[in-house]
Amino acid sequence: MSANIALSIQNISIAFGGLKAVSEFSMELPRGCLYGLIGPNGAGKTTVFNLLTGVYKPDTGSVGMGKMRIDGKKPNQIARAGMARTFQNIRLFGELSVLDNVRTAAGIRTRSGLFRTLFRSPLHVAEERAVTERSLELLDVLGIRHRRDEQSKSLPYGDQRRLEIARALATEPKVLLLDEPVAGMNTQEKMEMRGLIQSLREQFGVSILLIEHDMGLVMDICEQITVIDHGVTIAKGSPKEIQGNPAVIEAYLGVPDEEDPIPAADRAPSEETN
């Protein structure tokens, strides 16, 4: 595997009963790349995320991160190996404060065990300080530091999405999987989030795999795109290539010969579900 590949996925498939949710999915995520994964509702995009993060184990195929094979590992091992994600249907630690949500994730990089914790060894104290410091900086980056003490479940929707990203970044990932980060946001919020996602790459040196229904956003910021439908990869390439691809247009519209495919693609977000 090339050193410039952050994540390499080869022919992963999974079937639920008779339904092939994902079949023979392959892709390579170059280091530092912003990669889009799109497809109509029910295409299997989130299932791909679940396969990558170990929620499901692929029936076939392999997933490699750097030199490590991660398929078949548990979700927490994969996260420790450097893959973090956000959830389409937000899954914050609702009763915990905003800061504690991030600190929980940052805390996985501490080394002190139960005894050091209970007897507050100097190492433990230093680690807890480091966790808090880093978490606060992350809240700064995401612009939600002023809400640090609020219960995360009481945050407005947009801030919950931001907190999900802050929490994912706190695990010190190499690969970041974003599952519909702008779903349900207004235009203003979308613009902000777009700038934010782009800045994350340089600031944190992460490679990003993005699921998004907002075609405008995906076409704008992603360097490469893979389109899947019914679990099958139907197209791969740059945003330009994807926009002109007849198979993609068919998947979204069900009509092979549409005159102007781009506005049609723009209509897709109105169909999104959660």
Partner: protein, 368 residues
């Protein structure tokens, strides 16, 4: 952005200060327990001293249960099983040990004398054996949650109780005891009659030392990365896993920590009553402890202290209702659940509530 480990070196505390801060709470705990034993106990009279003792044990037991039920959100209703195991281990050591080494069945030695040291050893032994069992219960429980886990822990409690009831008779004749080694006596735990004549070492001092130590440790756990892992498991297990929290290990840690202090609590309980009856430490005792946690507020340390105090003191206060007192007690529980379903403190600590902050603000304003 710098990683956590890259920051650690620069943030190391002054070792002397850090070690001091680590030890001071324990010293305070011991000092407070000593004051309670020396002054508060005698001042309030024998009846209330006994109630105070019960409150301390309840804080210890409910506080330890709170780590599993409150922090980690794993619904365990077999806590009395850990108590029973701890109680047996400690009673075995102090009763047979006293006969073997001190030649008496009574308490032996003065304050922190040989007898009391043996007792402390018994408490720790009880805690360790209960903690080992905590691993055993924790492991199969990991795949289960909610009602299913509750049933497994219930089953565990019953198994321990029944095993206790089928142990061999307890020899009470000193000569007979001395003919056997400690190891040979390990199964002579009294069977269905219960283990009796346990020397009464439990005093307010030991109860409150252990209760305060538990509170300090529970506090430190809650406000640390390890503790947050438990809270994350409670809040959303899938998200916790995805953020790198080893939920399996977190749950086992919770069970072990919890079981250790339940074992210690069981030891104190046994050496207070002087007898350990497995029938008393069955399902109902576990439920009593769960009630304290739920009424106090799941996950709240101050809630547990309040809950334990109220639920131990209430039945005593209601004594004037004679036969109806358990009805009044139950009604009080129903009222709390209707008025505050999240428990008295909810998930908050006293110092996190808005009322406390207001009071603090006023106090500071007045000071200026």
């Amino acid at each position: 952005m710098k990683s956590v480990q890259e920051r650690v070196a620069a943030l190391r505390p002054n070792p002397a200060v850090s070690i001091g801060q680590s030890i001071v709470p324990f010293v305070v705990a011991i000092a407070l327990a000593f004051l309670i034993d020396k002054f508060v106990g005698p001042a309030i009279g024998a009846t209330w001293a006994k109630i105070l003792l019960d409150v301390g044990i309840a804080i210890l037991l409910a506080g330890s249960l709170n780590v599993v039920n409150g922090y980690a959100g794993q619904f365990s209703i077999g806590h009395a099983g850990f108590m029973l195991v701890g109680g047996y281990a400690a009673a075995w050591l102090t009763f047979y040990g006293s006969v073997h080494w001190f030649g008496t069945k009574e308490t032996y030695g003065g304050f922190l004398g040989d007898g009391q040291l043996l007792f402390v050893g018994g408490c720790i032994l009880g805690g360790i054996i209960a903690a080992l069992l905590g691993v055993l219960v924790g492991l199969p429980s990991l795949r289960l949650r909610g009602d299913y886990l509750a049933i497994v822990t219930l089953g565990f409690g019953e198994i321990v109780r029944v095993l206790g009831q089928i142990t061999d008779r307890q020899p009470k004749n000193m000569k007979v005891i001395k003919e056997q080694t400690m190891g040979e006596l390990a199964n002579n735990l009294g069977g269905a009659e219960g283990f009796s004549q346990i020397p009464g070492y439990t005093t307010l001092f030991f109860v409150y030392v252990m209760a305060f130590v538990l509170l300090v440790l529970a506090y430190r756990l809650k406000y640390s990365s390890k503790g947050r892992e438990l809270l994350a498991v409670r809040e959303n297990e899938i998200a916790a896993e995805a953020m790198g929290v080893d939920t399996t290990r977190a749950k086992v840690v919770a069970f072990v920590f919890s079981a250790f202090f339940a074992g210690v609590g069981g030891s104190l309980y046994a050496h207070q009553l002087g007898a350990l009856d497995p029938k008393e430490l069955g399902f109902m005792k576990s439920i009593d402890l769960v009630i304290i946690v739920v009424i106090g507020g799941m996950g709240s340390i101050t809630g547990i202290v309040l809950g334990a105090t109220i639920l131990v003191v209430l039945p005593e206060v209601f004594r004037s209702f004679a036969d109806y007192r358990m009805i009044v007690y139950a009604l009080a529980l129903v009222m709390v659940m209707i008025l505050r379903p999240q428990g008295i403190m909810g998930v908050q600590e006293l110092w996190e509530t808005s009322l406390w902050r207001k009071l603090l603000g006023k106090f500071r304003g007045a000071a200026k």
